[in-house]
């Protein structure tokens, strides 16, 4: 599986996520949330940054089910799901991820037939990789 190559702006996201915390970059001056992380605020041009904790509750905005040809690690797991989650507190912030049966479960642990747009999901961290994952609110 691929690991993110982390840049300075994004590093705090991955650090918090590995601790089981979903935090999104916010402007330290006007408070606007932004994703993906970047050097300055597109609303007020401030370079001040803070990392705002969010509830981790979201909804499935869309999803796909990739099939081979794929990179080897992913081909072995295919078909698996990839979802886009819109965050309850900030629906314009949508995170790409996988819907899994429980924290640490593989990307094909939940059959795609069970996924619906609008379904409520919750943020968890994969204990092994530290990567964000999503589990159904009502399993």
């Amino acid at each position: 599986m691929l690991s993110p190559v982390i840049d300075p702006e994004g590093a705090p996201f991955w650090r918090y996520a590995a601790q089981g915390e979903l935090r999104v970059q916010a402007c330290a001056d006007c408070g606007a949330l932004r994703f993906p992380p970047r050097p300055c605020c597109p609303h007020c041009r401030s370079f001040g940054v803070e990392w705002r904790p969010l509830s981790g509750h979201g909804r499935v905005w869309s999803y796909v089910v990739p099939h081979p040809p794929l990179l080897p690690d992913y081909a072995e797991r295919a078909p698996y799901n990839v979802i886009v989650v819109e965050l309850v507190e900030a629906p314009h912030i949508r995170l790409v991820g996988n819907l899994v049966a429980e924290a640490g479960a593989p990307i094909d642990s939940l059959p795609a037939e069970r996924i619906r747009i609008g379904a409520r999901v919750r943020f968890v961290a994969d204990p092994a990789s530290g990567l964000p994952q999503w589990v159904p609110e009502r399993p």
């Binding site: 796909v64 990739p66 990307i107």
Partner: protein, 384 residues
């Protein structure tokens, strides 16, 4: 003169064969297409002083100029974002020529993507920003990224796979009329489409363009110079690029409204400088790396309202004789996927009156570049 409107014209087009595998390398194919386009125009290669291509092109300006024997170049440009840059190459040449920076411009695209490497397989170099946010989860290929938008589009507007099939079928039917098309002798049926293998659900095999080896080129000169060329001029009536506010290439999911992609921004500028409207477009060549880009583009370029793009494809609207015949050479889905350059040349063929699926009396044509990334578009006309 209002900007570049009708100030320049495409006077030559050239192409190589299209195939899954061609023996020659990209540089050789590029030379062949460029020489063919200049010959079509009746212009000596020594007169070329401007070049334009787009990123992900392996043949560079120095090598092409040296091999073909151009004169001194005074303008050269390379447009970013791969398939979004196809139409912008013509736009850059038109602007350069209209402002006196050059007099004879060549735009080209050469590819070995049928038999060569595909860039998204090189995931190591793609993992830094922005791919760190998508690739680790297995969203690996362009088809996965566009399938995500497609699923949401189908959900929001009640569109179905039958609408995507309408797009695939229109392109295939036109390819079946075009002996140069890779899929010339391969008709498509609804059953074949509905039972084909998935690539990334909800997109199946026939929703994807053909990876192709091949090259194309076209020649742009001033309106005045065009009168002396071998072929009737096809005027560059309007041209635009579009990188909308807060856009994020391919995975535009962080935009407030991911279903209004770069075509919307491009279209606003394109139509502002045109003497005609979408209703006056006789034929369109719309970038079709994936079927779902067609309904999104039909909405973006103003042929119908938001959410109406799928319904627009019904009742044979995209077929010959329909409301808006599209991709009359077969497009990227069925003629060849050469990063959209075949759509430019097909637009020229239509306005010369010699397409293999000719729209009778076609006088206006929209050509678009890749939707989903910063893009570009052209309005072409044969009216002087």
């Amino acid at each position: 003169m209002a900007g570049i409107k009708d100030a320049t014209a495409i006077v030559g087009i050239g192409q190589t064969a299209f195939a899954k595998q061609l023996p020659e390398n990209e540089r050789t194919l590029a030379c062949r297409a460029v020489i063919a386009a200049l010959d079509d125009a009746g212009i000596d290669p020594g007169e070329v002083d401007a070049l334009a291509s787009f990123t992900m092109e392996e043949t560079d300006e120095v090598e092409l100029a040296k091999a073909v024997g151009f004169g001194d170049l005074t303008f050269f440009s390379r447009v970013g974002y791969g398939g979004g840059g196809s139409c912008a190459t013509v736009a850059h040449l038109a602007a350069a020529i209209a402002t006196g920076q050059a007099s004879v411009g060549v735009a080209w695209r050469s590819r070995k993507r049928g038999s060569g490497p595909r860039p998204w397989r090189d995931t190591v170099t793609q993992l830094p920003t922005p791919a760190q946010w998508t690739r680790p989860y297995g969203l690996l290929r362009p088809v996965d990224e566009i399938a995500m938008l497609t699923r949401r589009y189908l959900h929001e507007y009640g569109a179905t796979r039958d609408h995507l099939f309408n797009v695939a079928l229109a392109c295939r039917n036109r390819a079946n009329q075009n002996p140069a098309a890779v899929m010339y002798d391969r008709p498509l049926t609804r059953e074949m489409y509905m039972t084909s293998r998935w690539i990334s659900e909800p997109l199946c095999l026939f929703d994807n363009c053909l990876e192709t080896d091949g090259a194309l080129a076209c020649v742009v000169v001033s309106r005045e110079r065009a009168r002396d060329c071998r072929r009737p001029p096809v005027y560059v009536h309007s041209a635009a690029q579009g990188l909308p506010a807060q856009h994020h290439g391919m995975v535009n999911y962080w935009n407030d409204d991911p279903l209004t992609g770069p075509s919307w921004a491009t279209a606003r500028h394109l139509w502002k400088h045109a003497d005609f409207t979408p209703e006056d477009v006789d034929v369109a060549q719309i970038y079709d790396a994936f079927t779902a880009l067609i309904p999104l583009s039909l909405e973006g370029y103003g042929f119908c309202g938001r959410g109406e793009g799928a319904a627009f494809t019904e009742q044979g609207a995209l077929e010959s004789g329909g409301r808006l015949p599209i991709n009359t050479g077969g497009g990227g889905l069925s003629e060849a996927y050469v990063h959209g350059f075949n759509l430019i040349n097909e637009g020229v063929k239509q306005l010369r009156g010699n397409s293999t699926a000719q729209v009778p009396g076609a006088a206006t044509c929209l050509v678009t570049a890749g939707e989903g990334v910063p893009t570009s578009a052209l309005l072409l006309t044969n009216r002087s």
